[in-house]
Symmetry: C2
C-alpha cells in the first residue's frame, strides 16, 4: 500500500488573502464597549495599543484582506502547512472514519501563533513602531512574537507569568534566542507589577497581571505598542489561512468533511480552522458539523454566560460580549495552559450563540489518553491544547466504528508538545486530576461581572 499520508501545497498555492467572516454572518457581533462609559469604543480608544492597520482590520467590513508580501515571505518559512491523513491512528482505532489533521507545529515557534504574530509585527514595523510588548504564560505566544519581531528587526519585551518563568525555563530561553527580553511577572518595572508585589512579594503571577504590565509598558512609550495572541477579530482573521489551506488540500483529494473539531481557549486556532469552512457551509457548498472542544475545568462555551465582561482579570480592557466564567475566575491548574482562559473570543461566542457551531467539554485524562494513542500511531507528540480536539475526534471515530459510517473528520493539530513533556510525565505517573466544572467558583466570579444596561 502507498496511501498518501500528507497532502501538500506548493508555495505558489498558498492563499494570499485572509478571510474576514464578519460580513458573511447573519447578524453582526455586538461591539466592544468602553470600560468607563459603556459606549461602543472607536479607533482612537485602541490607538495607544495597536497600529492603525490592525485597528482597521478589527472592524473591517471587507470579506478578504490581502496578506502583505513581506508577511508571505515569512510565512513561507513553514507555510503552507501539511494536511495529514491519519492512516495509522485510524488503523489503531479500527474505525471506518477518515481522520485528517492540519499540522501547525511546523512553524519555528511550534504552534499556529506565528500566523498572527508575523503580520502583527509587520504592521507595527510598517507604522514605525520599534518595540512590541506582550504577556505569555507557558510561552507559546511569547515565543511566537519573539520570532516575528526578530524577522523585522524589532525589539520584543515579554512579561511571563512568574510560575512559568521559574518552572519552564526552556520557552524563555527560546524567546531570548530570538532576541526578546523576558521579565517574570509581576515585575518591579511597572506600576501594576509593583502594586501586586507590595501586597504579595512571592506572587506566582497570572496572565491577567502580565497583561496589565505589558499594556502599561506599551502605553507609556510612543515607540512601543502591544500585541495580543488571541480573542480579537483581527487575530482570528490572521489564523484563517489554516482553514483556507485545508479547503484547498481537501479539494485536491476530493474529500468533504462531515465534522470539524477544534480546541478552544481564546478561540484563535478554532476560528482559523473553521471560519473558511463555515463560509462554505453558510453558502450551502458543504454541510459539516463544526464543534468547539474545551476543557471540562474551564468550559466557557458549554457553561458560561453570554454577556459583556472584561478580557483581563484586572478589568482594564474594553468590555466585550462573550461567553464568560467571570473575569476574575481562576481555572484549576490543568495542563492545557492555553485553554485556561475565563472567556471566549467574542466572534466565536457570537457564532456559537447564532447556532452555527456546537461545543463539548472533555476532562484532561481522556485528552492525554488520546494524545498517547496519537503519538504512538502518528508519531507527533501533541501540545496539551489540541489533545482536546484529538480526544473529540477519537470519540467520533469510535462512534463511526459502531455505526459503520465513513465519517470524514478534520481537526487542527495546532502545536507540538516538545515543551510540555512535564505534563505527559504527570499523566503517565497517574497524577493528573480530572477537575470538574467548578460551579461555586464560577458563581462567585460571575457576581463580579459588570451589569450593562
Amino acid at each position: 500500500m502507498a496511501a498518501q499520508t500528507k497532502i501538500l501545497l506548493d508555495e505558489s498555492e498558498m492563499p494570499t488573502q485572509w478571510y474576514n467572516i464578519i460580513p458573511d454572518l447573519p447578524t453582526p457581533p455586538p461591539p466592544p464597549l468602553h470600560p468607563g462609559t459603556h459606549e461602543p469604543i472607536g479607533p482612537d480608544d485602541l490607538a495607544p495599543l495597536f497600529p492603525m492597520a490592525l485597528i482597521e482590520q478589527e472592524v473591517s467590513s471587507e470579506s478578504y484582506i490581502d496578506i502583505p508580501g513581506e508577511v508571505l515571505d515569512v510565512y513561507r518559512l513553514w507555510r503552507p502547512s501539511p494536511l495529514y491523513r491519519a492512516h495509522r491512528l485510524e488503523k489503531l482505532l479500527d474505525t471506518p472514519a477518515r481522520i485528517y489533521y492540519k499540522y501547525e507545529g511546523v512553524s519555528p515557534a511550534g504552534s499556529h501563533k506565528p500566523n498572527t504574530s508575523v503580520p502583527q509585527a509587520y504592521y507595527n514595523h510598517s507604522e514605525g513602531v520599534k518595540k512590541l510588548t506582550t504577556e505569555t504564560g507557558a510561552g507559546q505566544w511569547g515565543s511566537a512574537l519573539a520570532f516575528a519581531t526578530a524577522q523585522y528587526g524589532m525589539e520584543c519585551e515579554v512579561w511571563q507569568v512568574r510560575a512559568s518563568y521559574d518552572q519552564k525555563p526552556y520557552r524563555r530561553t527560546m524567546m531570548q534566542v530570538w532576541g526578546a527580553t523576558v521579565h517574570p511577572s509581576p515585575s518591579d518595572l511597572t506600576g501594576a507589577g509593583r502594586a501586586i508585589l507590595a501586597r504579595d512579594p512571592d506572587s506566582p503571577g497570572s496572565l491577567g497581571i502580565a497583561i496589565s504590565e505589558a499594556v502599561e509598558a506599551a502605553v507609556g512609550d510612543p515607540d512601543t505598542k502591544y500585541a495580543l495572541g488571541s480573542v480579537l477579530n483581527h487575530v482570528l482573521m490572521h489564523q484563517t489561512i489554516i482553514g483556507e489551506e485545508a479547503l484547498l488540500q481537501l479539494a485536491k483529494i476530493g474529500e468533504t468533511p462531515d465534522l470539524l473539531v477544534g480546541c478552544t481557549g481564546g478561540g484563535s486556532n478554532f476560528g482559523g480552522l473553521s471560519f473558511p469552512f463555515l463560509r462554505e457551509k453558510m453558502a450551502g457548498r458543504m454541510n459539516p458539523t463544526i464543534r468547539c472542544v474545551e476543557p471540562a475545568a474551564c468550559p466557557s462555551l458549554t457553561k458560561g454566560e453570554y454577556r459583556y465582561d472584561f478580557g483581563d482579570t484586572m478589568g482594564m480592557t474594553p468590555l466585550v460580549k462573550m461567553h464568560t466564567l467571570g473575569h476574575d475566575f481562576i481555572p484549576d491548574p490543568i495542563h492545557a495552559g492555553g485553554l485556561r482562559y475565563h472567556g471566549m473570543a467574542p466572534l466565536v461566542s457570537h457564532i456559537y450563540e447564532s447556532g452555527l457551531v456546537e461545543a463539548e467539554a472533555i476532562h484532561q485524562n481522556e485528552c492525554f489518553d488520546a494524545a498517547i494513542k496519537f503519538a504512538k500511531s502518528e508519531g507527533i507528540v501533541p501540545a496539551p491544547e489540541p489533545t482536546h480536539a484529538i480526544a473529540a475526534a477519537i470519540r467520533e471515530a469510535n462512534r463511526a466504528k459502531e455505526t459503520g459510517e465513513e465519517t470524514v473528520i478534520l481537526t487542527a493539530l495546532c502545536g507540538h508538545g516538545h515543551f510540555d513533556l512535564k505534563s505527559y510525565e504527570a499523566y503517565l505517573s497517574g497524577e493528573l486530576v480530572d477537575y470538574d466544572y467548578p460551579e461555586e467558583k464560577v458563581r462567585a466570579a460571575m457576581a463580579n461581572v459588570p451589569v450593562i444596561a
Copy 2:
C-alpha cells in the same frame, strides 16, 4: 519578491532505494576484526545482536537496496523532508552565496535518526524479534528508536546515561510517551552496570557503559536484539535518503552545489547527506567540495589516528579501522552531545583517508553564535550538533562575500534544538568554554589502543 523558500517533493517522488556507496569506492574499506582473534568477523559473530537482513546490508555489494513498503509507509509521516533556501540568512550575512539546508527536524523525534531507527525496527520485527535494546545519551537516538518500535508494536528498552537521565528528563518522557522503558545507566539490571555501581555507586554513567548494558540485555534474550544509531555501514546507508532527496530537490531548481558541509559525530548525518553527492562526484557529474565539520574538543578526523580501535569505551565491540582519539578518551563536556564520540564511522574514515572529503574543526562558541544568527533569520532553533555545519557554512558565505563568488552551499540541518535550550542558555550567559584539542588526554588514550599486526 516571492522567491521560493522550500523545495518540496511529493510523496510519490520519495526515493525508494537506499544508496550503498561501498561498491563505488576506489578501494573497499578494511574489514572489522574479532576483538579476540583479530580475524575478520563474519555474519555469525553479529547474529546475537542484529537481524540477518541488517547483517547482510552491512556487507552488501549491491549499490542500491530497496526500501520496504512498510518502511516507506512510516517515512511518509515526515518524508520527503523539505530543502530550504536560506534567503533570510543570506540577507543577514549580505553574501552572494546561495545557502541551502535539508531539514531533518521535521521527523517526529526531531532529527535524522528515525531514517535508520524505522528500518532497523522493521527488519527486526520481520524476523520475529519482540524487543530492541539500545543506549542513549541526551536522548536523540533513544527517542528515535522508541518512536520506531511503537510503529511496529515492539518493545523498546533504553539505557540512558545517568547524568542525562537526571538532568534532561524531557527526552526520557518522550521515549515513555512512545512506550519505551528507560533505565538510568549504570543500572543494577546488568552485570556491566552492577560492576560499575560496585566501584562507584554515584557513577554519572557514560555512553560506553550504556552500550555495554544494552548489548548485555540483548544477547541474554532470544527475543531481543540490539540497535545502534550511527557508525555502522547499514546505518549510514539508511541515511542516504537525505542526500538522494536533496539531489532531486536541487535538480528541480537547476542548482548544483559547490560545497557540502555536514557535522560529524558518529558520521551518520554526514554520510546520509554526502554519499549520494559523492557518487555524482566520482562519476564526474558534479564536483562539489565535501567537508566534514567536527568539534575542536573532539576532532577525530582532523587530529585522530587512522587505525583499528574499539567502538565502545569498554572494549567489547569488534575492532574497526577508523580515525580515533582512543576508545577510552572522554571528551570535554561540549554541548553537542551527539559529537562527543572518540571515533568516526569506518566508512567516513576510509573515504576521508582516500582524499574524497576534507574536514575542519570548530569551537563551540562560534557554533552557537552561528546558531543565533540562523534562528533569528531562518526561525528554526538548531540542535547543537548541526550548528557546527551552520558555522562552517557561514565561514564560507563570508569568504564568498569577500571574493564576490556566488558559491552554492548545501548543508544538512539534522535536528531542532527544542530539547537543547539549556545549552543556548549557557551560551547566552557567556558560560560556554571553548575547549581546545586535549593533546595530553588523547596521547594517554591512544596508548591503550590495541596494536594490530
